[in-house]
């Protein structure tokens, strides 16, 4: 949340009217767009009020939560709720979430990158690669949850039920199709002359892959990693079905069980929401633009 406040500070001295830049590219909108502006500001309130409520309530004592106006800031803020959440094995859930996310995203992006490279470079001459590509494209239409029952069966048969690996493997599989598609589109944009000159220098495809394509597609790799990372970090269905014991819980699942146990203690529940979201918010603060492009996967370009 830190960036939000500093940005507001900077906005004060930014010109609010149409700058020359705005006129040139602002979609031809010269005057104020009243319906859009109204929707924009109303939506700001709708978004901010619940977020504000989460944060202030998580700082309230349980007793004062019921007594006070819910939108009033806490009269004496306390971190007691956060202590309660952290003492409820929060670190373990956080670690699990990190293991699952990193353990899925890194292999998923790497194998997708290799596949995308092969598809772009050689699918004209290889029937195998063309079919692989078609399979991935069709995979885009498979909803994850519709395959959950066989996935559960497979995980049981592999004796992996109730392990983090049980979450990781399907997560990788479901990240592959979209990652391949996006990465392949980026690799296609690499000028062919560069590949040619690598070849002239006697570089193998393997070397070209890592020394030419990899650095050149880095923005796409980051985008794809963020997109996959966020959906795996927030994933609920796979942990719900493929794990059982508290030791293997990831954060979203832990939130849910925490709410089951402490449901009446609203401030503590909201503190758990804040803590579970904090890592993502920190990332958002650090790399907002990259995160945004990752979120929309280039749809917004």
């Amino acid at each position: 949340m830190a960036t939000l406040t500093t940005d507001t500070g900077r906005a004060a001295d930014a010109p609010t009217g149409q700058g020359p830049r705005g006129r040139a590219r602002g979609a031809g909108i010269g005057r104020f767009n009243w319906p859009g502006g109204l929707a924009g500001w109303v939506w700001l309130v709708i978004v901010v009020v619940p977020l504000y409520w989460i944060v202030i309530t998580s700082l309230k004592e349980r007793s004062s939560y019921y007594a006070q106006n819910p939108l009033a800031p806490p009269s004496d803020p306390t971190l007691e709720n956060y202590r309660l959440v952290i003492e409820s094995e929060f670190a373990r859930y956080l670690t699990n979430s990190i293991i699952v996310t990193v353990g899925s995203v890194v292999p998923a992006v790497l194998v997708s990158f290799m596949a995308a490279y092969a598809i772009v470079r050689a699918s004209a001459g290889s029937r195998f690669l063309r079919w692989t590509n078609v399979l991935f494209l069709m995979g885009l239409a498979i909803p994850l949850q519709a395959t959950i029952i066989p996935v559960y069966l497979i995980i049981i048969r592999l004796q992996m039920y109730d392990t983090l690996l049980a979450i990781i493997l399907p997560s990788i599989a479901f990240a592959v199709p979209l990652s391949v598609l996006v990465l392949a589109n980026f690799i296609r944009d690499v000028p062919k002359e560069l590949f040619e000159s690598m070849r002239m220098d006697g570089a193998t495809e393997w070397r070209t892959l890592w020394h030419l394509a990899f650095p050149l597609t880095r923005p796409a790799l980051v985008t794809v990693s963020i997109y996959n990372g966020l959906s795996i970090w927030n994933g609920f269905l796979l942990p719900l079905i493929l794990t059982q014991s508290p030791e293997q819980r990831t954060l979203p699942l832990a939130l849910w069980t925490f709410q089951g146990e402490y449901g009446v203690n609203v401030p503590a529940v909201l503190a758990s929401v804040v803590l579970a979201t904090l890592p993502i918010l920190v990332l958002y603060a650090l790399g907002r633009r990259q995160l945004l492009s990752g979120l929309t996967l280039g749809f917004g370009k």
């Binding site: 960036t3 939000l4 906005a11 609010t16 149409q18 602002g26 979609a27 031809g28 909108i29 859009g36 502006g37 929707a39 924009g40 939506w43 977020l51 409520w53 989460i54 006070q68 106006n69 939108l71 194998v111 290799m114 596949a115 092969a118 470079r121 050689a122 290889s126 078609v134 399979l135 995979g139 885009l140 239409a141 498979i142 909803p143 949850q145 519709a146 395959t147 029952i149 066989p150 069966l153 497979i154 493997l169 599989a173 592959v176 589109n185 070849r199 892959l209 959906s231 970090w233 927030n234 269905l237 954060l251 979203p252 849910w256 609203v266 758990s272 579970a276 979201t277 979120l295 917004g300």
Partner: protein
């Protein structure tokens, strides 16, 4: 938002300019292919097979012919689940599209403060569905929630305890999370519209409203299709949100297909019928994706600037 069909699937065949060695790098696709087949393709085939079996999720799997399909197709729960799924889809589309379109056009302006608005809008997207559902559950509590605390009786209703209200809450929470996402898509779309179009319209004396309906909307056609596809196909995947928020309740009021599948399979231990529901879910998803493609016209490369 996993597994959504992106709008412009480019299947441009690669130019085989690299010569003879190219076929030998096929192995590079193997790791991705292997894991995708193992946990994507095989389960997809498996779910069809399992729909013809009887399995309680733990013991042995017995072939059962068409039993599960008979159970599922004669159960009034199925049309209900389809109807609820459709309602959530249609309502969230109908609410999100105009809002995100308006906001996208608004955000397309380059003013600094609008960028800051965009920064704030995106925060809900970062929350997990579980976190979101938990928050709204507490926020809407009729006795201890926001409405009760502020003393507004219209806000202090039993939001999640009454069928239609609960459905409305689901649609609202979905919109709360995803409108900014779609607004960003529209923002990008609007920024790509050539300014010359507006300038020409201005010279012709077209008003703002006229410009919006005659230029902005038609020019955004493909953006609207993209965004609608994402909304519609994505709405089939609102499992976690609804599961944590209402568990399909009250009664069956918010029991969408995905939830129906989960409850039959993992709560009632009837994996056969649950698999049948899953097959239906796949078919509905595919049908929708195809339908939207049709609606959008198959020739995505057609000029978006016709009439220029």
């Amino acid at each position: 938002m996993t597994g959504l069909a992106p709008p412009a699937v480019r299947v441009r065949p690669a130019t085989g300019s690299t010569g003879g060695r190219s076929g030998s790098i096929g192995w590079m696709a193997l790791p991705a292919l292997t894991i995708f087949v193992a946990f994507g393709v095989v389960p997809l085939a498996g779910v069809l097979l399992l729909s013809f079996t009887r399995w309680d999720g733990i013991g042995a799997i017995h072939p059962a012919g068409l039993d599960s399909w008979r159970t599922v197709l004669t159960d009034p729960g199925l049309p209900h689940a389809l109807w609820v799924t459709f309602l959530v889809m249609a309502l969230s589309w109908a609410f999100q599209t105009p809002m995100s379109l308006l906001m996208g056009v608004f955000l397309a302006g380059r003013q600094r403060y609008r960028e800051i608005l965009a920064i704030v809008y995106v925060v809900p997207l970062l929350l997990s569905s579980a976190a979101l559902a938990i928050t709204y559950k507490a926020l809407l509590d009729p006795n201890f929630g926001l409405g009760a605390g502020l003393g507004f009786s219209f806000l202090a209703q039993d939001w999640l305890g009454r069928g239609t209200l609960a459905l409305g809450v689901v649609v609202f929470v979905v919109s709360w999370q995803f409108i900014p996402f779609h607004a960003l898509i529209y923002q990008g779309g609007v920024r790509q519209i050539p300014v010359a179009l507006y300038e020409a319209a201005q010279i012709d004396g077209a008003g703002r409203l006229r410009q919006f309906f005659s230029i902005t909307l038609p020019q955004l056609k493909y953006t609207i299709i993209t965004s609608s596809t994402l909304m519609v196909v994505g709405s089939l995947t609102f499992f976690d949100l609804i599961f944590v928020l209402t568990e399909g309740g009250p009664g069956d009021a918010t029991r969408v297909l995905a939830l129906d599948m989960y409850k039959r399979g993992f709560q009632a231990n009837l994996m056969g019928p649950a698999s049948a529901i899953a097959v239906i879910l796949v078919l509905v998803g595919l049908a929708l994706a195809l339908l939207l493609r049709r609606l959008g016209g198959r020739d995505a490369s057609a000029s978006q600037q016709e009439g220029m």
